[in-house]
């Protein structure tokens, strides 16, 4: 039996995390392979944080930041820049760049939230688990 894939969602407390709570308030179902970690702003994460997560066996990452609604100054541009740096690093390691997605989600973005989760699962259905791409690479923590 194949292991269920895991989507890590990094969501801002003022945006995506509250948006996920709104989805909950509406009792709308989505896939359970979604692990949402709150953050103040994803600007905190350096490039290697994402690569490390993939290497540990996370199949996909959606960053739900606050975009233009961010309560912080300058972090939005910063996040975009970091993620732009991550893509070529992923390619270099042979990781499909579709596994990483940056999207702006606000507190009432319930439909976009559900769409992001659905689409990422569709992508995973096509490209398969991360192990396949990491190939020879030893997947740590999954021994």
């Amino acid at each position: 039996m194949s292991k269920p894939s895991k989507i890590l969602i990094i969501a801002t407390l003022s945006g995506g995390y509250a948006g996920a709570d709104s989805v909950g308030q509406l009792h709308t179902d989505y896939a359970a392979n979604t692990y949402i970690l709150p953050c103040l702003s994803p600007a905190v994460f350096p490039e290697d944080f994402y690569l490390r997560a993939f290497e540990r066996g996370i199949d996909a990452i959606i960053i739900m930041y606050s975009g233009t609604d961010s309560p912080y100054k300058g972090d939005t541009e910063r996040v975009a820049k970091i993620i732009n740096n991550v893509y070529p690093l992923m390619t270099k390691k042979g990781i499909d760049t579709r596994r990483l997605r940056l999207t702006a989600i606000c507190t009432v973005c319930t439909k976009p939230f559900l769409k992001e989760v659905r689409q990422m699962n569709e992508v995973l259905g096509v490209i398969g688990p991360i192990e396949r791409e990491l190939g020879a690479l030893q997947v740590e923590g999954r021994s």
């Binding site: 996920a20 709570d21 359970a32 979604t34 905190v44």
Partner: protein, 677 residues
Amino acid sequence: MPKKANHGDEPRIAVYICYCGGNISDVVQCEQVAKALSQQPNVVITRTNMSMCSDAAQAMVEEDIRKLSVNRVVIGACAPALHEQTFRGTVSRAGLNPYFYHHVGLREQASWVHHDDSSGATEKAIRLMMAGIAKARLLEPLEPIKLDAKQHALIIGGGVAGLRSAWDIARRGIKVSLIEKSPFLGGHMAQLESVFPTGESARALLGKLIEKVVSHPNITVYTSAELVGVKGYVGDFQVQIRQQSRGISDDIAEAALQAPLPEVPDEFNYGLTQRKLIYRAYPGAYPAAPAVDWYNCPDGHLEVEINGQFVILENAPKTFDLDVGAILVASGFRPSEPRYGEYGYGELPEVITLPQLIRLLALQKSGDKLIWNGHPVNNVAMIHCVGSRQIEGIHEPQPDGQVNNYCSRVCCTATLQAANELHKRFPHIHIFDIYEDIRTYGRGHEDYYIEASFNKVRFLRFHVDEMPTVIHASKGEQRPVLVQVKDYLTKGQEIEVPVDLVVLAVGMMPNPIDDIIRMLKVSPGTDRFLLEVHPKLRPVETAVPGIVLAGTAQGPMNIQESCAAASAAAAKVAVLLGQGRVELEPFIARVDPDRCTGSGQCVEVCCYQDAITMETVSSNGHKIRRAVVTPANCAGCGVCVSVCPNRAIDIQGWTLDQYEAMVDAIAADLPEMEAMA
């Protein structure tokens, strides 16, 4: 120093999973989660409970902390937004630093969104809890940042809600600056004649409140004033205000009102009358001095003949700063504007709105006939729920593409109050009230409904998918307009009502305040009104600390409800500022001086003034450069963290090490689940 130096000890973690009275346990198999977690390193106790937030369960947590020497607590329950603070208090009471608590949301993000996937939700809950435990191992004791709070509040909006909260805050000993965009105080309440349910004069009541406000030594009122900039944080906001000139000195005030000037539609009477470019909104308005309508003077100056002399009045807006501890948004509502052609609005001169009718009745003080459009009015149709209770697919959307799917709360009673007023003053008029539901819910409101029935107001009830139509009557008809209704009070008969006047009971929409929303970083809800954190737990607060809501900026309310909300918001401001000190979460950047090599990259990327600076310090006799954080200026965004080449900087309470441990916990296999599969 924290209460106990227990952070250096080996972690001893207590883990709890809440049933939430079935909300969680109906989907997530809580006992299985508990079992899976009980074997985790450092976990000394795992329990489930029907309701973790109950007093008994909190007492249990306290007891566990004491008896089992627990030094970290993880609870899986509802959203952290609801109860994280509750449980920080719980662990604190047991003598633990409150930041040794970690909260995992299992309701909004698991049980409520995976109804049909109990095993998936359970697996997810286990992993999320494992991540929580992983973070808990790395938690550190933190102390809140204590800041002095300016005992001064800014109130945006000079309608009844803003005025009422100004008065409450001022009486509590806190200074208030109230800004009103228009040149006069009073808002929409000034446009009413009598208020339900008491029948008191609206402007007399309002006048008394304004008098209290403007004479209170703690309150400064700025009319024609707008918010143009905000900096800072709760306890210490620096706000920038721009105020237009009044334009007219007191000595020429009365003469200026007489001056020959172009006229524009008078917004006070919703365009039923014209007013000059120098005007006083209504007799008795505050401030009494007339104002120049700069909006209609494109170049910011107006040439006018006063007392036979030509003068040029100039608008010289001034901008100034205020330091305030809290901001109260009471920016109010506007009546929704019917779409062109909606029930004949705009097409037929006989179709007006309820606010217009109220002004019309005020303007026609005398006479035994109501005159509209030059004709005496004998039949009136009043149509409810215009611009309210709209349904997608049935109603045309508003210009922003959304329908107003909410009830505007005040229109039913206001319509019946107007109907009774019409009947009282013009008993010959036949009134037809066309509605879906009559919502005279408030104390004393039902009396207006009973009175209207007694007054022989004819009620006609339509279904939302069979809305009435308003058309021009054919030539030769006695009445200019025909209203066609499929009336379910008379077995669904198609009824044609010939009328002289159609009154649309329009609803409420929030005033357009996009700039304020942007500056304050507050959020509107799907109905466009400003969003509170939680309607029951934190009903007047926004998600931004120090910014509170009052009145119809938050949703439709009548005057009584606006005043209650305004006072409640004032109480919240008093809680925040009354003691002169604000405590903030300690989630700010922290530099590890042993790791910092003084690269200065953090300073380059930081967007906050003086939040992080490079300083030269002595270390073992060497002068070296190190980054230093100024806590009050740091917002905690973490931009500095990701650029540091040495991992020398972190956000307290949200460290990269903690995140990596959480990711590892989520990625790890679940031995138990595998065994099951």
